[in-house]
């Protein structure tokens, strides 16, 4: 009876807010709750939001070793946070996501925190200026259409300082919204200015940081000519782990002509078949759908200290990516490796070990044409020996 009640309660509460993830919003300025009301509306639709003041003592990120929140939204201030940078980095290391809304006058604490993620804030009091792509001639409010990874159609407005990063994007740090070609800020030029930067750690936790608060504030979100509303939705989805999440499972390797999955060992020069299912999370349908990679770029490596093969997998039916190839003429312990580091998607790192044995004593080729002289000479000596015996023994 009790079990039945618990079951019913479980079913009832499965879809309710009690199952949603918790987001902690920390800010210093109560005016933020008014000026960013749309942003918080969007957040509350899918998450349980806790609003706390940065300086208050009433919240704990960690309680008895367990993290109390799943994601974190930080509004930067001129003061330091009660929580140490190391604890925030531990929060990130545990796989939880952080969204940092910066401002040009944020304290050194936040600048140092930003540096841990490969991004850097412009100097105090600076702001991005663009005389060509701006709103209503106000060259401080700049727009850009240079948006990567997120899907935003209209130009995005930004006001305030920008972020900086190395000029090229690594597989972990990207600029989601970059400045247009005519933007500059102090001595930084357009290709170095980032309005919204992101870092995805090796544990697939995501960190998004904007250069200023205003990019997510109501006055831009309500403006239907601008893409800020879509940008906010996309940032919430991507930054908190709902879109572009990949999952790989069902790894199969077998000999091409047999059905035993994952045999004990392979032999040199055998045909081998490898397949894996890759799924992507679809937040609209709330399920895993097959991942379609447009550029044929899921690459399989067949490695023993050096890669012997590095071939893209072919897309099969459904979510299957498969390949059949011939094992090389070398024996040893090999690994099937997939190292899929596409910007914006979670990292897929898969390694599966197999052994390849040399030929057995009776598996070598027989009666090779190349060895005919040796066969002839061996039997030739025996024939010659017989002839010799006859001649020797019958001689007087």
């Amino acid at each position: 009876m009790i079990k039945f009640l618990i079951l019913i309660l479980g079913i009832v509460f499965a879809g309710t807010p009690y199952n949603q993830k918790k987001v902690l919003v920390l800010s210093d300025n109560p005016a933020v709750y008014v000026s960013h009301s749309q942003f918080f509306n969007l957040l509350s639709k899918t998450y349980r939001v806790d609003y706390k003041n940065i300086q208050s003592n009433t919240f704990n990120l960690q309680l008895f070793g367990e993290w109390q929140y799943d994601h974190l939204v930080l509004f930067s201030t001129t003061n330091d946070l009660k929580v140490s940078i190391q604890e925030l980095l531990d929060f990130y290391d545990s796989g939880r996501n952080i969204l940092l809304l910066g401002s040009t006058d944020q304290s050194k604490y936040f600048r140092k925190f930003l540096n841990s993620f490969g991004l850097d804030m412009h100097e105090y009091g600076s702001s991005v200026i663009d005389y060509f792509n701006n709103i209503k001639g106000n060259h401080n409010i700049v727009t850009t259409t240079n948006v990567n990874i997120l899907k935003v159609d209209k130009p995005v407005a930004h006001q305030g300082a920008g972020l900086a990063m190395t000029p090229y994007e690594t597989f972990q740090v990207y600029g989601l919204v970059r400045g247009s070609e005519t933007a500059f800020s102090g001595s930084n030029l357009s290709h170095n200015i980032i309005y919204v930067g992101a870092t995805q750690g090796r544990n697939n936790a995501r960190f998004v940081s904007t250069g200023s608060w205003e990019i997510l504030s109501d006055e831009y979100l309500n403006n239907s000519n601008l893409g800020n509303f879509e940008l906010t939705q996309e940032i919430i989805r991507w930054g908190f782990g709902q879109s572009k999440i990949l999952k790989a499972e069902n790894l199969i390797h077998r000999r091409l002509d047999s059905d035993d999955i994952k045999p004990y060992n392979y032999r040199l020069r055998e045909d081998c078949y490898f397949s894996i299912d890759i799924f992507e999370w679809d937040y609209q349908k709330d399920q895993w759908i097959p991942y379609v990679s447009t550029e044929n770029d899921v690459i399989l490596e067949f490695v023993m200290l050096d890669p012997y093969y590095r071939v893209p997998l072919k897309k099969g039916q459904g979510a299957k990516y498969e390949l059949s190839f011939k094992i090389p003429d070398v024996y040893g312990v090999f690994q099937f490796k997939i190292n899929y580091l596409k910007p914006g998607y979670t990292f897929l790192k898969i390694a599966e070990k197999i052994t390849v044995r040399p030929f057995r004593h009776d598996e070598y080729g027989r009666y090779l044409v190349q060895a005919y002289p040796y066969y002839f000479s061996s039997f030739g000596t025996m024939a010659g020996f017989v002839v010799f015996l006859i001649a020797f023994l019958l001689n007087k």
Binding site: Y364, T381, G384, F388, F392
Partner: protein, 118 residues
Amino acid sequence: MSDTKFVDENSLIGIAASFWQQYSTKTPQKLKIMDAFSLYCFILVIIQLFYCTLVGDFPRNSFLSGIFAAAGAMIINICLRKQLNPETKYMEISNERAFWEYLAAMIVLFLTVINFLG
């Protein structure tokens, strides 16, 4: 000796000619048959080495067994020849015993060769 010599003794051709003359007159028939067999095996070794430098020794087992068949037969033959010649006999064994040992060695050699031929 009062044999007439038509060739100069000290040149290379002279040495070869006098060797050949001594060999064909002095050695008994049986030893000549054994020498013929040894020469045959030696030629086989040369042919196989020549083939190996041309094409390479890919089936290594077959290469080794072919060479060892010919070279081993030659060596065992030479051992028997030494035993049968009273000047070069090196152990106090009768001729028949030497011959049985020769047969045993050849059988072992051929068994090994057939096993290793691959």
